[in-house]
């Protein structure tokens, strides 16, 4: 456990020594604030119910920033050769992957928590349904886990950060769009595709419902992403 924290700590610190983390957090908070302002603060007749459309947009925003957040995690260490030194220390492969995953997710969670200031502003002038709001945020954090795990996987595939970002973007967009395909295929296949879709699984959180099925969906996506990343890190050849 201490190895995981050491690695996560180094990774998190490294985010903040480059402008990347600041840029991502500012971008995320800026767009979120803009959507909040346009969707709620400037809408006199806004209903708490409209919140779910907003939080769905925030999930998509998270999906957009994930590839940039995760692209360097493994790929950069492969490219610069630091992975070799790291892996000859007494640390397990999975400790490295989990540590890096936690760093990226920690940064994401930090940005998400900061954005909670927006519903607090709403509270001044109106009434916020906090149960629904917090469920939405819980879903956001869960979805972020799955996104970042897939991003780590993409980063573990290559030593080129740009390639890692593109692979991550394709993977994430696939899981976002796969639900739409369900309308153009047979009923049974469509159901399967719907269950695979991030959007379909997220919808309930936005309504304030915690569906075990969706929780399991995000957790299994996280697990698969991390499992495949560990397998890739075990493969030592410079890709």
């Amino acid at each position: 456990m201490s190895n995981i924290l050491t690695i996560a700590g180094r990774e998190l610190r490294s985010y903040f020594t480059s402008p990347l983390a600041y840029a991502l957090v500012v971008f995320f908070l800026g767009i979120t604030a803009l959507m909040f302002t346009l969707g709620f603060l400037l809408q006199p007749r806004a209903q708490t119910d409209d919140f779910r459309y907003l939080i769905e947009s925030i999930v998509f925003l998270a999906l957009m920033i994930t590839p940039v957040l995760t692209m360097g995690l493994v790929a950069q260490e492969r490219a610069s050769g630091t992975l070799e030194l790291l892996m000859t220390r007494p640390v397990r492969d999975w400790e490295v992957v989990i540590g890096k995953f936690l760093a990226a997710w920690g940064l994401f969670a930090g940005a998400v928590l900061l954005s909670l200031a927006l519903p607090l502003i709403l509270e001044i002038g109106g009434k916020v349904d906090w149960g629904m709001m917090l469920t939405g945020y819980l879903g956001l954090l869960l979805a972020g886990m799955a996104f970042i795990a897939l991003g780590v996987f993409a980063s573990s595939l290559t030593s080129n950060q740009i390639a890692a970002a593109i692979i991550a973007a394709c993977l994430l967009l696939f899981f976002w769009l796969v639900g739409w395909m369900s309308y153009s295929v047979s009923q049974s296949l469509g159901d399967v595709l719907k269950h695979l879709s991030v959007r379909e699984n997220y919808v309930d959180f936005g309504k304030g419902i915690i569906d075990t099925k969706s929780v399991i969906y995000f957790l299994s996506l996280t697990f698969v992403g991390l499992f495949l990343s560990i397998r890739n890190v075990e493969n030592r050849r410079t890709i």
């Binding site: 000859t88 007494p90 397990r92």
Partner: protein
């Protein structure tokens, strides 16, 4: 302390090393010598647990690298060929990170950090960001992180590459100072380095071990003749022919300088007096006569070069 048995590594279809076996005893300093791309780094990456061999087994400090990789790695300090460090960290930050991954206690870590920073000549740059350091200083940070946890086994891949001559001497002395308490395996393609710092040399070429022993033993092993270098003032066509007629002279070759010849005589003979007398008697004007010692370089070239004279 380090045992390799039949290590073989394929990268896809490319065979990097074949049947590499050797044994390094506790407290020994051994040079792993070979031209570029001979398989030095591959062997070291296997011994440090970075990647598994395709065939063969290796043990470090008594731990099998396949079954007890973590325990073996705990006993190793490794300095890779390209000292790749986290360039966004400060030297002390980086060393602290390394110490934490080695589960060193706070007090122990502080004490060891002070020691390695001083020994590796990093005192004045200890708070610098690694990205701002020159290659020579980065090499020293690489060495410092390898020594940080005081490991019984040190594996150093080309530790003096990129250093200036003064630093090279410092690093070599540092490595020599580790003898006894530490087992050191260092790779190099620089012969004098092997000769100066190490008690034993393992020569690898094209992925195979071609020779092993002390520098002296290796030169003796390869020696096929005693060689004398002579220089005459009045060089002419018959010198070589007449020298060859002296009993026990095996061959005569031209040396680089004008009037110079290498005279090979049978192993164990000393014909200096006879040859001097012969040349003086002919009146060719003897300018120089000296025995030629075979250097490790000759051994190395002999073992690793197919076409002589190319290197």
């Amino acid at each position: 302390m380090i045992e390799a048995h039949g290590l073989t590594k394929y990268y896809g279809l490319h065979l990097a090393i074949t049947d590499v076996s050797f044994h390094i005893k506790e407290g020994e300093i051994v040079a792993f010598l070979g031209p570029n791309a001979a398989g030095k780094t591959t062997t070291m990456r296997i011994l440090t647990g970075y990647m598994p061999p395709t065939f063969g087994t290796a043990r470090v400090a008594g731990f099998d690298l396949a079954d007890h990789s973590l325990e073996a790695r705990r006993n190793i300090g490794y300095m890779p060929e390209t000292t790749s460090l986290y360039t966004d960290m400060r030297v002390t930050q980086y060393l602290r990170f390394c110490g934490r991954l080695r589960h060193m206690g706070k007090a122990q870590l502080a004490e060891r950090m002070e020691y390695v920073v001083e020994r590796c000549g990093l005192s004045e740059r200890a708070n610098s960001i690694i990205a701002t350091l020159s290659l020579g200083f980065r090499q020293r940070v690489g060495l410092a992180q390898a020594m940080l946890h005081d490991p019984p086994v040190l594996i150093l891949d080309e530790p003096t590459v990129g250093l200036d001559p003064k630093q090279i001497i410092e690093v070599r002395n540092l490595i020599k100072g580790l003898a006894g308490d530490h087992t050191v395996m260092l790779s190099t393609h620089i012969l004098p380095e092997a000769q100066m710092t190490c008690e034993r040399v393992i020569i690898i070429n094209r992925g195979q071990i071609v020779a092993e022993g002390s520098p002296e033993a290796l030169t003796a092993q390869i020696r096929e003749a005693e060689t004398l270098l002579i220089t005459v003032r009045d060089d002419n066509d018959i010198v070589a022919r007449q020298l060859k007629d002296i009993p026990q002279v095996i061959g005569v070759r031209r040396a680089e300088q004008p009037g110079g010849y290498y005279v090979d005589t049978a192993v164990g003979t000393d014909l200096r007096a006879e040859i001097a007398e012969f040349i003086v008697g002919k009146g060719w004007g003897l300018l120089e006569l000296q025995p030629v010692e075979l250097s490790l370089e000759d051994v190395f070239l002999e073992l690793t070069t197919e076409e002589k004279g190319v290197a």
